[in-house]
Amino acid sequence: MAKSGLLKTFTEPLGKNNPVFVQILGICSTLAVTNKLQNTMVMVLGVTFATALSSWTVSLLRKRIPSRIRMMVETMIIAAYVILVDIILKAYYPEMWKQLGPYVGLIITNCIVMGRVEAFALTNKPLPSLVDGLASGLGYAYVLLIIAAVRELMGSGSLWGYRILGPWWTNWAIMVMPPGGFFILAIAIWVIRETVGKEVSHA
C-alpha cells in the first residue's frame, strides 16, 4: 500500500497532474533559456534539485514552523538551496553559469518550487514530499526539454550544440528569439492536451 502510494506520488506529476501543461506553473525562469538544449538541461536540473530538497526540508520541519511566518521560512529554505546551485555552477561549470546569468537566482520565484512546498510538503511526510518534489521537477523538465529541442533544432539546426541538419537547412531565426518560446510552448500545450491530457484539461 505504502509502496503504491509513493509510486502514485511519483507518476502523477509526470502525467495527469503535470505542472507545466496542466497547471501552467513555473515557466518564467526557464523559458528564457530554452533556445539551447544544454542551458535548459542545467536549469531544469537546478529546479528539480531545489524543488525536491526544499519540499523535503519543509516537510521535516512542518510541525515546528509557526504558521504566521510560514512563507518567510519557506522562502528562506528555497533561497538557500538556490544559492547552493548558484555556487556549485559558478565553481564547477563557470561557462554555464555565465550563460544562465540571473536566471539561476530566479528559480526562487519559480512557482513550482513554492507551489509544491505549499500544496504537498506542508501536510505530508518527508519521503513522499521528496518524491513529489522530484517528480514535479522531472515533469517540468521533460516538457521544457522538448521545447528546447524543437527551438534549437529549428532555430540553429543543431542539438546539444552539434549541427544535425545539413547546409540545406535555413535557420528559423524567430525560433531562438523570444516569440519562438511562446509559440512552441503554446503548441506543446495544445498537442499534449489534445492527446494524453484530454481528460484533465477541464479540471
Binding site: S29, T75, P102, I108
Partner: protein, 197 residues
C-alpha cells in the same frame, strides 16, 4: 564604466524592445492568470510598476552599501527577496490603514507580487549589468510600465476572444501564449527607435 550605458536608452528599451515579460518571460504566472479582465490587469500592472520602481533602486542601495563592503554578494538572492517581501508587507499595511480606496484597488494585488519573478528579476539584472543608481531607478520604472502595457493589451485582446471559436485544448493558457508571441514580435518592431550614437 557602468555609466557608459545611457539611462535613457535603458528606460525605453525596458518598456519596448526588451520588455521584461515579452523577452525574458518574467512574471508569466500572474500574467496568464490575471489578464482575463481589464480592470484587474490595470490594478496588478500598477502595483507591479510601483513595487518595481521602489525595490530596484532600494536593492541597489542594499547591494552597494551592505553586501559589497562585507563581501556578501553571494547572499544577494536571499537579501533581495527579503527586501521585496518586507517592502510589499509595509506598503500593504500602510495602504490598509490610511487609504481604503487605494487599498481596494491596489492593495489586494500586493500579496501576489512577492512571488512575481519580474520583481526579483529586475533586481538581479540590475546587479549583473552593473547599473548606476539612476539607471536602476529608470530600469525599474521602465520594466514596470512595460509589464503594465503588456498585461493591459493582453486583457484587451482576451476580451475580444471571449466569443471566438478556439480549439478546446488551446483555450485559456494556450491561446494566451500564442497572443503573447505575436505581441513579442510586435514589440520587437520598436527596435531602432533610438539611434545608437
Amino acid at each position: 564604466m557602468p555609466s557608459q550605458v545611457t539611462a535613457f536608452a535603458v528606460f525605453f528599451a525596458s518598456i519596448f524592445t526588451g520588455n521584461i515579460l515579452l523577452t525574458n518571460y518574467l512574471g508569466m504566472c500572474s500574467f496568464l492568470a490575471v489578464s482575463k479582465e481589464m480592470k484587474t490587469s490595470l490594478g496588478l500592472g500598477a502595483a507591479v510598476t510601483f513595487v518595481l520602481t521602489v525595490t530596484t533602486p532600494l536593492n541597489w542601495l542594499v547591494y552597494q552599501y551592505l553586501l559589497i563592503p562585507f563581501n556578501l554578494e553571494y547572499l544577494r538572492f536571499i537579501v533581495f527577496i527579503i527586501v521585496i517581501a518586507a517592502f510589499v508587507q509595509l506598503t500593504e499595511m500602510t495602504l490598509e490603514r490610511y487609504s481604503e480606496p487605494l487599498y481596494q484597488s491596489l492593495g489586494i494585488f500586493l500579496p501576489l507580487i512577492t512571488v512575481n519573478c519580474a520583481i526579483l528579476g529586475a533586481s538581479l539584472f540590475m546587479v549583473i549589468r552593473e547599473y548606476t543608481f539612476m539607471t536602476s531607478l529608470l530600469f525599474g520604472l521602465g520594466s514596470g510600465i512595460g509589464w503594465l502595457l503588456a498585461i493591459v493589451a493582453m486583457s484587451g485582446i482576451r476580451a475580444k476572444l471571449r466569443t471566438a471559436k478556439i480549439p478546446p485544448a488551446l483555450e485559456g493558457p494556450g491561446i494566451s501564449l500564442i497572443i503573447a508571441g505575436f505581441m513579442a514580435m510586435a514589440f520587437m518592431g520598436f527596435s531602432g527607435m533610438i539611434a545608437v550614437s
